[in-house]
């Protein structure tokens, strides 16, 4: 039997759904469909899109490479300050991205804590470079893959790893052939969320890496830039991001949220 929902719930749910859908619908309605091609080239959509994809994929790759060990340490490590470390790892999720950008400037900017040394000793400058955009995006999006993987590791039955050790597996072999494959679903979900977050990153990037077309101007920055000179172009760029995000969400179905 289908559940009979109280009218009040249906009404509030409808309100919520409309609230979420209305801006997206408005983008479609207000898009300058008649001069789509001109609007796209006018705002440099292809350059920004390519840069966005490059930056978000690089940030995801770094997040996964560093995030898996971090998740492992948080899930399995027993050391003082573990909860503090977890709070620090999660911080970028709750921090305004612009604050993250300011922090990155203070740390890695040309005259920053570490950035000064990077610049003087190694000649590396991150601000106003694509590398800087990747750093800012990674900072903001990495917590998602760490949290998802840590949850997977915590849910893993320790008997499998113990059995693998008893079967002659060295710690590294056990990690590679048992632990990692068994948390692969959570890791993949976390990586996708990280990538989606990276694709939409704005505040930390513009603060730390600036807004330079072809170098740091990813899609969200291009939308922001276009909005001041060409509102129609901004809508077209926004629509592109909407289409990409919706495609990914639909392709993954309920796997991200664990609901099937």
């Amino acid at each position: 039997m289908r559940a009979r929902l109280p009218l009040a719930i249906v009404a509030l749910a409808s309100l919520g759904a409309v609230f979420v859908l209305l801006p997206v619908l408005a983008l479609f309605v207000r898009a300058p469909w008649s001069r789509l091609g001109g609007a796209l080239s006018g705002v440099g959509a292809s350059t920004a899109l390519r840069l966005s994809i490059e930056v978000s994929l690089a940030a995801t790759a770094i997040s996964v490479a560093v995030g898996i060990p971090l998740a492992w340490v948080l899930a399995r490590g027993e050391f003082p300050g573990r909860n503090l470390l977890r709070a620090a790892v999660v911080l970028p999720i709750v921090l305004p991205p612009v604050v993250g950008g300011v922090g990155l400037l203070a740390a890695l900017g040309r005259s920053g804590l570490v950035g000064r040394w990077l610049h003087d000793a190694l000649g590396i400058q991150l601000t106003f470079t694509t590398g800087g955009a990747v750093v800012a995006t990674t900072f903001v999006s990495m917590p998602l893959v760490v949290l998802a993987t840590e949850a997977g590791l915590r849910g893993l039955d320790l008997r499998y790893e113990r059995a693998a050790a008893a079967m002659g597996g060295s710690p590294w072999y056990v990690f590679r052939r048992v632990t990692l494959p068994m948390v692969a679903p959570q890791l993949a979900a976390g990586a996708v969320l990280t990538w989606a977050r990276a694709l939409g990153e704005f505040g930390a990037t513009i603060t730390f890496a600036g807004n330079l077309a072809g170098r740091t101007e990813t899609m969200p920055l291009a939308v922001f830039q276009a909005r001041q000179v060409d509102p129609g172009g901004a809508i077209v760029l926004s629509l592109i991001l909407v289409v990409i995000s919706v495609s990914v969400l639909v392709a993954l179905g309920g796997r991200l949220t664990g609901i099937r």
Binding site: A164, M167, G168, Y173
Partner: protein, 361 residues
């Protein structure tokens, strides 16, 4: 190859302590109720749980300092603990590959083992698709795959359907017999211990309460637990049909009348096991009248007192252990050398029909 262990392991607030040795080609059962610490002990021997104190020696060489992956111990875990993301074949090949063998050689070795221990199981199947008995067969193959020098089986029959248990028990018996080295069998099932082990270590509340051959423990159990579970009469032999609903179990030293097992074709069956609780055997000074189908006479060989119960061993045919109150033992003046009658009802005999004997598999 001899395994000697004397260890103390902390598990929560409890300290599990055990000292025992298992000789070359000897099957040692660790028997005890759930929670007694049996698994803790074998996992400590395998290096999965650190021991607080003690030593584990293999032919006199200490292995207690080695990490688990370097201890030459093959373990079949309770419930199998097969890797769910790997196929049956990859599971069995795991110990070989973990020790650095090439994938191809490891798979060939695994296929060979599976062919012997788990024929009829698709090597490409995932463990999730297998029955409890099938999983245990794969776990057994995996335990042997790394060519261990000590074999450890932890509750190999506990997750197995009753219907598949007899066949698997026969396979276990054959596998244990053929394994060249010490073998440890963890079980809470006395019949498993009595039928598969050469010696039994009884473990209760983290302490060893008795060590001995199955016969020694049956004849003179030292604790209530051992008396209740291990101290059973065990009959093994050929079962032939009698008149309706009954059968004759022909053991090596006498015949026992038993009820014919439900759902089993009325044909002679080899290698049938049966148990009889000692408390279900009554003793009489004169030949008893009554409905009991099994009546035998014998001389008392030994009387062991445990609390207010007396366990009386008879040299009857078949040999029996009866448990009576010390009061009635006193009234009947039972002591070593007394000639008594023993009787028990056919329905008190519990049959474990085991089609397919150990050596026919």
């Amino acid at each position: 190859m001899v395994l000697e262990a004397g260890i103390e392991v902390r598990r929560g607030d409890v300290i599990v302590a055990a000292a025992f040795s298992a000789g070359d080609r000897e099957t040692l059962a660790l028997l005890g109720p759930n929670g007694a610490g049996k698994t803790t002990i074998v996992e400590s021997i395998a290096g999965l749980i650190p021991a607080a104190h003690g030593h584990i020696l293999l032919d006199g060489v200490p292995i207690h300092g080695l990490p688990p992956e370097r201890r030459p111990i093959g373990m079949a875990f309770q419930d199998g603990v097969l890797f769910p993301h790997l196929s049956v074949l990859e599971n069995v090949a795991f110990p070989v590959r973990a020790r650095g063998a090439r994938s191809r050689a490891a798979r060939a070795h695994a296929l060979d083992l599976l062919g012997r221990l788990a024929p009829g199981i698709d090597p490409g199947a995932k463990p999730g698709a297998l029955s409890g008995g099938e999983r245990q067969r794969v776990a057994l193959a995996r335990a042997l795959a790394g060519a261990p020098r000590v074999l450890v089986l932890d509750e190999p029959l506990s997750a197995v359907d009753v219907s598949a248990r007899a066949e698997l028990r026969a396979l276990l018996r054959r596998t244990l017999r053929d394994f060249d080295g010490p073998r440890l069998l963890v079980t809470h099932d006395p019949v498993e211990a009595m039928t598969l082990a050469d010696r039994v270590v009884v473990l209760e509340d983290g302490r060893i309460t008795q060590t001995g051959t199955p016969e020694e423990i049956r004849d003179a159990p030292r604790t209530r637990y051992a008396a209740d579970l291990v101290g059973m009469n065990l009959f093994a032999g050929r079962l032939t049909p009698l008149e309706a609903g009954a059968g004759a179990l022909e053991t090596a030293d006498g015949v026992v009348t038993v009820p014919w097992p439900d759902g089993v074709a009325v044909d002679p069956l080899d290698d049938v096991l049966a148990t009889l609780g000692p408390a279900d055997v009554s003793l009489h000074a004169a030949r008893p009248e009554g409905s009991a189908r099994n009546v035998v006479q014998g001389v008392v060989e030994e009387v062991a007192i445990l609390g207010d119960r007396a366990r009386v061993r008879l040299d009857s045919s078949p040999r029996l252990v009866a448990e009576i109150t010390t009061g009635s033992a006193g009234r009947m003046a039972i002591q070593t050398g007394t000639l008594v009658w023993a009787s028990f009802k056919a329905v008190e005999v519990h049959l474990m029909v085991e089609p397919g004997a150990a050596d026919t598999l």
